[in-house]
């Protein structure tokens, strides 16, 4: 049996597979399909300081090998999440990563500080890359100096390691990655969705009510792989990779590019059992490519120097 464990700041993972934030809510729905303790970790839906209603509908559209979404950070607010969602997740043996979002640096800080009163989370994923809200979010993820500042402030305000979620909607992702590393990030998660649009031919207008949305799914996988590959060579902090994973081969490709663990998002919608199935099949896949363990495969795809 291959060793699937991975140790990352704040995260002792029994395997490298976790559902991606926003695709798994707070776990309740998927717990009806399999035991959440099987998972390496869970990245829960983004928390903001106060309750947010999100965008108008339609909020999703299918695209070739992917989908666009513009949910708009709908969530009940960090206090309600701590009181009503995290206790449920504590009944499972699985580390929880809280996704922290906001419109201002103060809001990010406030959410991180609010989370101090719970022991239910093992790490924070700092969401500076949500493309679907009018203010905040993505501008922190596209300007290195702002990314660094919010990272530093949230790091100072939180009691657990901070992973910064990077936006692919930038010219040079390495520059942002290095900026947040220098600002004290414990790790990176990448990539968030790419901004996209679909136009309704009959109505002659963008299909999503928000007009633009975030593109996810297998369509973006090559971009995720390329960006992880580049960032892995430029930073010393671990990367949790995501972007279109649907199979064990995809997982291994992310590990080879330099991810230490991976998150699965869109594929949960097609197959609610996907995380559980990939975890079960991973040992065989590692053997197939001659890796004794997950750790053995991390960053091993940089052969041509």
């Amino acid at each position: 049996m291959s060793d699937l464990t991975v140790q990352l700041p704040g995260l002792d993972l029994k395997n490298p597979i976790m559902p991606a934030s926003g695709c798994f809510s707070f776990g309740r729905e998927y717990s009806k399909f399999y035991c959440l303790s099987q998972l390496g970790a869970i990245m829960i839906k983004a928390a903001t300081a106060d309750k947010r209603l999100g965008n108008a509908t339609p909020r999703v559209a299918e695209t070739h090998a992917g989908m666009l979404n513009a949910i708009g950070l709908q969530n009940p607010g960090v206090e309600a999440i701590i009181d009503h969602e995290l206790p449920f997740l504590q009944t499972f043996d699985v580390p929880v990563i809280a996704n922290v979002a906001g419109s201002t640096i103060e809001e990010y800080e406030g959410v991180a500080r609010a989370l101090k009163r719970t022991e239910a989370i093992s790490a924070i994923e700092l969401n500076i890359s949500c493309p679907n809200v009018k203010e905040g979010g993505v501008q922190f993820g596209t300007r290195p100096e702002l990314a660094a500042e919010v990272t530093q402030r949230v790091k100072a305000a939180s009691h657990v390691p901070v992973y910064v979620k990077l936006s692919p909607n930038v010219t040079d992702i390495v520059e942002i990655a290095q900026a947040v590393e220098q600002a004290g990030a414990d790790g990176l998660t990448m990539i968030n969705t790419l901004t996209g649009m679909k136009i309704d031919l009959k109505k002659r207008q963008p299909l999503l009510a928000n007009q633009v949305g975030g593109l996810s799914g297998p369509a973006i996988k090559p971009i995720a792989i390329r960006m992880i590959y580049q960032v892995y060579q430029a930073v010393d902090i671990p990367i949790i990779g995501m972007g279109g994973i649907t199979s064990t081969d995809d997982v291994i490709e992310f590990l080879l590019a330099g991810a230490s663990a991976v998150a699965i998002g869109t594929a949960n919608f097609k197959n609610p059992l996907i995380c559980s199935e990939i975890i079960e099949q991973l040992p065989q896949a590692l053997q197939k490519y001659h890796f004794a363990s997950v750790k053995d495969a991390i960053g091993k795809g940089h052969g041509h120097g």
Partner: protein
């Protein structure tokens, strides 16, 4: 709710771009399904189509262990579903959402109001209401004659009025025109169809208790992704159509 592979017993076109499929499903799953619930269907294997398609349950035949769905071909995904043949299998999430809570209701005479592809779920509802000896009147609205289906099936339960927008079949106009013209008497209504129709029905029948069933583009279909939401009546919160609905009490949500 379960993930299951269902074999197609038969598939046929019953109106313009409208397909009816009978699926073989285990009896113990069929027993749990209420009228108004839906199945969330995987288009195919592979990665081209990442989202399932939500399709209402049109009927259940416990004896033959068959589940009926009716869907309209709107885009590439539903076109692929329409190309399936008997004996092929498709992957379902079943059952999804909340149905019409008819056990809890005291009804003597029900008015069923269906529009286009909103008609099928009302058929299974009609069968369940008929079992309880509730009198049924149906008003079915379609765009044009080529779209009309299930008229005879609804006539088996009682009066059935069909209306088309262009007047090519039955009455001319929208469902609310028929309800007004015919002075229909009833004590509860159940409606499923396009949002514009549901809005008109709610406004016209504001003094009657009733239930509406909504449709929206869905992601997960189980309540996890927050894609298919509808504001509550007071606009203070969102309901999830896939999990809290698709059936809602009239005036429970703001459409």
């Amino acid at each position: 709710m379960k993930v299951c592979e269902a074999v197609i017993d038969d598939i046929k076109q019953i109106a313009r771009d409208t397909m009816q499929v009978h699926l073989k499903v285990e009896a113990n799953i069929l027993q749990t399904i209420k009228p108004g619930q839906f199945v969330h269907i995987q288009v195919n294997n592979g990665t081209e189509h990442m989202l399932r398609r939500p399709i209402s349950v049109a009927n259940i035949d416990q004896e033959r262990q068959l589940l009926t769905i009716v869907f309209k071909v709107f885009g590439q995904g539903t076109a692929k579903l329409a190309a399936y043949e008997a004996e092929q299998s498709i992957n379902l999430l079943i059952p999804c959402g909340q149905g019409y809570p008819i056990e809890e209701l005291q009804i003597k005479k029900a008015l069923l109001i269906g529009g286009g592809i909103g008609v099928p779920p009302l058929y299974y509802l009609a069968r369940q209401l008929a079992k309880k000896n509730i009198e049924i009147i149906s008003v079915l609205g379609f765009q044009t004659q080529a779209d009309v289906f299930y008229q005879q099936d609804f006539e088996a339960f009682g009066q059935c009025f069909v209306t088309t927008m262009d007047g090519s079949y039955g009455y001319k106009g929208v469902v609310t025109d028929v309800i007004k013209q015919e002075h229909l008497l009833f004590d509860y209504y159940f409606s499923c169809g396009p949002t514009a129709m549901l809005r008109a029905v709610q406004t016209e029948l504001t003094n009657y208790p009733g239930y509406i069933s909504l449709e929206e583009r869905m992601g997960c279909g189980i309540g996890a992704c927050y894609a298919c939401v509808v504001p509550s009546k007071d606009q203070a919160t969102y309901k999830k159509i896939c999990q809290d609905g698709p059936v809602f009490r009239a005036n429970e949500v703001s459409i």
